[in-house]
């Protein structure tokens, strides 16, 4: 079990670009915008003060190596590490940057992520596979669609149960200025949309979007000097687990629950000292790449019992005005999923919520929340908990 880094690392600056189909800008534009916004908010100078950098990109067309950061920013000479870990790519950048601060190696670090998915030209995420000619591929929607057919069989969930998730998230994202999609949708719209991978339809799936995000982290001591009390959040825990690349061949695969999710969230809760996340935390950001995944994540992350997630949405529990808001920002449903950027953006959203800066989509009295990624064929899961410095578990 990880000792964790509870309250040893502070987030003092955040930056997020507009997310969407950004044909007219490239990864250089997006990185420059998000990094400078984060540095400005943190009152640090990129070239003078930032000691080390972690950058996440999934695809080589968005950038490879530490040069993916140093070249666009023309910021040379720093130790820059390139991270890739499927959909948790961005959050893994945050993790490694935070660990460097907690280890006492660096005082001021930058974690950022970017993806220019649209530059690749495909209708879905490009197939990266294993390069094995007999590897049976799958589109990302197909991966989760398979699970949806099992939930229909086991729990009697329906396409309508799935459709309520994007209706909820679009309701939230409509108020977020940086979201790709800023409009409400109706249940009828969601149910009448074409299939992408049966039984998932258009609105069950997140879009192809470009974007970038960045956070500046430091020690709590330096945070007080740089931005002052009340202007920074602290990391309470980062849980991470990596499982199989070939889950479908496992005789114990159910399609109803993912071991990586359970292990990552349990680790995060233990590090933060949390017994009951739904009672002790105030909100969550879950990886709603597909509607069914938001529901299954509620269960794996301990917000409810297996089979109950559909009712949580139906009963409004996870709406922004509900008992435990999920994806108050609109989630991947409204932001799309530029892989390298997503996890960093989620940490930005956590920080802004607990600092009371989420204007228009603010969760009331938000002191602490979690963000969650699930990447690959249910391979890599991360759960990060961020709160105000004075937040304590048990509350």
């Amino acid at each position: 079990m990880s000792k964790g880094i509870r309250d040893r690392v502070a987030i003092i600056g955040t930056g997020v670009t507009q997310f969407g189909e950004i044909w007219e800008k490239d990864e250089e534009d997006l990185l420059v915008e998000s990094v400078y916004e984060a540095c400005g908010e943190a009152h640090v100078d990129l070239r003078e003060d930032v000691e080390a950098v972690w950058i996440g990109t999934q695809y080589n067309f968005s950038g490879v190596s530490g040069g993916a950061f140093s070249e666009p920013l023309k910021c040379y000479g720093k130790p820059v590490t390139h991270c890739e870990n499927f959909c948790a790519t961005g959050m893994d950048s945050v993790k490694n940057a935070a660990y460097a601060v907690a280890a006492g190696i660096h005082d001021i670090v930058l974690a950022c992520g970017v993806e220019k998915i649209l530059d690749q030209g495909s209708r879905g995420l490009p197939d990266i596979g294993t390069g094995h000619p007999l590897a049976v591929g799958m589109s990302m929607p197909a991966l989760f669609a398979i699970c949806a057919t099992r939930t229909f069989k086991e729990w009697g969930w329906t396409e309508e149960d799935l459709a309520r998730v994007p209706v909820k998230n679009h309701h939230h994202g409509a108020k977020h200025p940086k979201a790709h999609f800023r409009r409400e949708i109706t249940l009828e719209m969601a149910l009448n949309a074409p299939y992408i991978a049966y039984p998932l339809k258009l609105y069950d799936c997140c879009a192809m979007s470009d974007g970038a995000a960045a956070v500046i982290m430091t020690t709590p001591e330096r945070a007080k000097d740089l931005v002052g009390p009340g202007n920074y959040a602290t990391i309470k825990a980062i849980g991470h687990a990596v499982e199989s690349l070939q889950p479908f061949g496992r005789p114990d695969f159910t399609g109803l629950s993912f071991p990586a999710n359970r292990k990552a969230s349990r680790s995060a809760y233990e590090q933060a000292g949390i017994q009951n996340p739904r009672k002790e935390l105030d909100f969550g950001i879950v990886h709603d790449c597909f509607s069914v995944n938001e529901l299954l994540s509620y269960q794996d992350l301990g917000l409810c019992q297996p089979g109950e997630a559909a009712d949580l949405v139906k009963d409004g529990v996870t709406a922004i005005e509900g008992e435990f808001p999920i994806n108050p920002d609109g989630g991947l449903k409204c932001f799309g999923h530029p892989i390298g950027a997503t996890g960093v953006r989620m940490v930005v959203e956590l920080t802004r919520q607990v600092l009371g800066r989420a204007e228009g989509y603010q969760v009331k009295n938000a002191k602490a929340g979690f963000a969650h990624n699930l990447g690959g064929p249910f391979t890599t899961s991360m759960v990060t908990i961020v709160g105000t410095p004075d937040w304590e578990p048990g509350g």
Binding site: P133, P141, C147, A197, Q246, F248, G249, R250, F253
Partner: protein
């Protein structure tokens, strides 16, 4: 005696209505329907299917040689029979050979098999014949042709039917031909080929055979013949003086079409399925000459009935909805993906045992049967402690989806025709993640029975990768 120990056949799932072809191509209809190989099938993959049918209940390691007869090998330089042997899980020192370039190749292969056994250099030889020939839009062959495969296991003792004699005629007649660069066969004049080739060579071969054995036409209960078109069958029956209705095995023109190289063997299989003990059958091919084979059934011909799917594949069928779909299927898999893929041929070669031979592994520590074969167990992590296990080919669907984004073989989809993806639980307990072929969208359900089928997987970088897919149980 040396003879046929087992037989098998394969006819693909799909049929095309000839009326529909005629309407679309602006030609006259030849009536009936023709069998059409799926977009992921070719002569190589269909030969595997016929071989699997023929080897039902037979240990594949007993086979000493495999001969593949075809005029439509997907490979110009590279042996198809070695891939077929691997997919059939034959032993490593099996003698493989492709017998090609003439529709007579099937009987040439049977004769070679017979000779090898007679010479004592082999005990059991598998002959597989298959064709899926390219069709030119609007041509006569587009309608009369059909795709299919047949297999005979030749051996000594325990025969279903004994091979009593052969005769052969070689004839350097122009016939149909295809140069290295031709997609479709050329033909100088069908009439020349029929009157001076087919109707001369086949009667000569059969006449010589009967004369040598002291038999007459009336002593033969069935003739399994090849002719390039229905008219050829009619003329052959007339010239040979045989009863078209009773003595000539139905050429399957109405239901399958003329398959080419495998056709006389396919008709022989149909004849054997109906035959009684101690009946004589003549099987004769045509193509730059003719081979005739005299066969006499044993009492085991009755016991063999119903043990193979054989021509039962003919009634297990689905109609293609349109000429467009037929045309799409026939233009072969243009896998559309020319990305250079330098390492994958090596991976394919390295992983033959699970990829083509269809082996999984059973962990000696926790007992889990799993696919593919790897160093460490996916469940308990045990390292290098497992046995390789040949997997079952039947199972049922555990979960499924219809993927409109990514097509078969990981080629970007057109967004209109989904790729059905399934998790299959095999009868032996192994679980596999597969693509499905030959299915309708609406029929796929959890617990649906399926079979594994050997298909063309993809053509990345121009190399044909074959592997296993799921299909609805037939």
């Amino acid at each position: 005696m040396i003879g046929i120990v087992s037989y098998g056949a394969y006819v693909p799932m799909w049929r095309m209505d000839r009326e529909e072809i005629a309407r679309a191509a602006g030609t006259l209809s030849a009536r009936g329907e023709r069998a059409v190989a799926s977009w992921d099938e070719d002569s190589l993959s269909m030969a595997v299917e016929a071989g699997l049918d023929c080897l039902t209940g037979i240990d594949p390691k007993e086979i000493d040689a495999l001969y593949f007869a075809t005029v439509s090998s997907p490979l110009k330089e590279k042996q198809a029979s070695s891939i077929i042997a691997s997919a059939l899980d034959l032993k490593e020192n099996v003698n493989t050979s492709d017998v090609t370039d003439s529709t007579r190749a099937a009987t040439s292969a049977v004769q070679a098999a017979f000779n090898a056994i007679k010479a004592g250099s082999a005990r059991k030889v598998l002959v597989v014949a298959a064709d899926s020939r390219p069709v030119m839009m609007g041509s006569e062959f587009e309608q009369i042709g059909g795709d299919g495969a047949a297999a005979l296991l030749i051996g000594e003792g325990d025969t279903t039917a004994d091979i009593e004699n052969f005769s052969t005629v070689s004839d350097a007649i122009p016939g149909p031909w295809r140069l290295e660069t031709d997609t479709f066969p050329k033909m100088f004049a069908a009439k020349l080929d029929r009157n001076h080739g087919l109707l001369k060579d086949v009667p000569e071969a059969i006449g010589g055979l009967l004369k040598e054995c002291g038999l007459e036409v009336k002593d033969i209960s069935r003739f399994a013949l090849y002719a390039p078109d229905p008219r050829g069958y009619f003329n052959l029956a007339r010239d040979l003086g045989i009863e078209a209705m009773t003595q000539v095995e139905n050429p399957l023109f109405e239901t399958v079409g003329i398959t080419g190289t495998p056709h006389c063997l396919l008709l022989l299989v149909a004849a054997l399925e109906k035959a009684e003990t101690d009946q004589r059958i003549v099987c004769a091919s045509y193509g730059e000459g003719s081979d005739a084979i005299l066969i006499r059934t044993t009492e085991r011909v009755e016991q063999a009935k119903g043990k193979r799917k054989g021509t039962g594949f003919i009634s297990s069928k689905r109609m293609l909805p349109s000429y467009g779909r037929f045309y799409d299927f026939k233009k072969a898999m243009e896998a559309g993906d020319a990305r250079p893929d330098g390492s994958s041929v090596v991976k394919y070669w390295r992983d033959e045992k699970w990829g083509i031979r269809l082996y999984g592994m059973r962990c000696n520590n926790c007992g889990t049967l799993q696919y593919p074969i790897s160093r460490c167990c996916m469940i308990c992590g045990e390292k290098d402690n497992h046995e390789d296990v040949k997997l079952a080919r039947r199972g049922k669907v555990f979960a499924y989806t219809h993927d409109y984004l990514l097509g078969p073989g990981s080629i970007p989809s057109d967004g209109i025709n989904p790729c059905t993806r399934v998790i299959v639980d095999l009868e032996d307990g192994c679980r596999m993640w597969m693509e499905m072929s030959d299915n309708e969208i609406a029929e796929v359900k959890i617990d649906m029975p399926v079979e594994l089928t050997f298909r063309l997987f993809r053509k990345t970088g121009g190399f044909p990768y074959y592997g296993w897919r799921a299909r609805p149980a037939r």
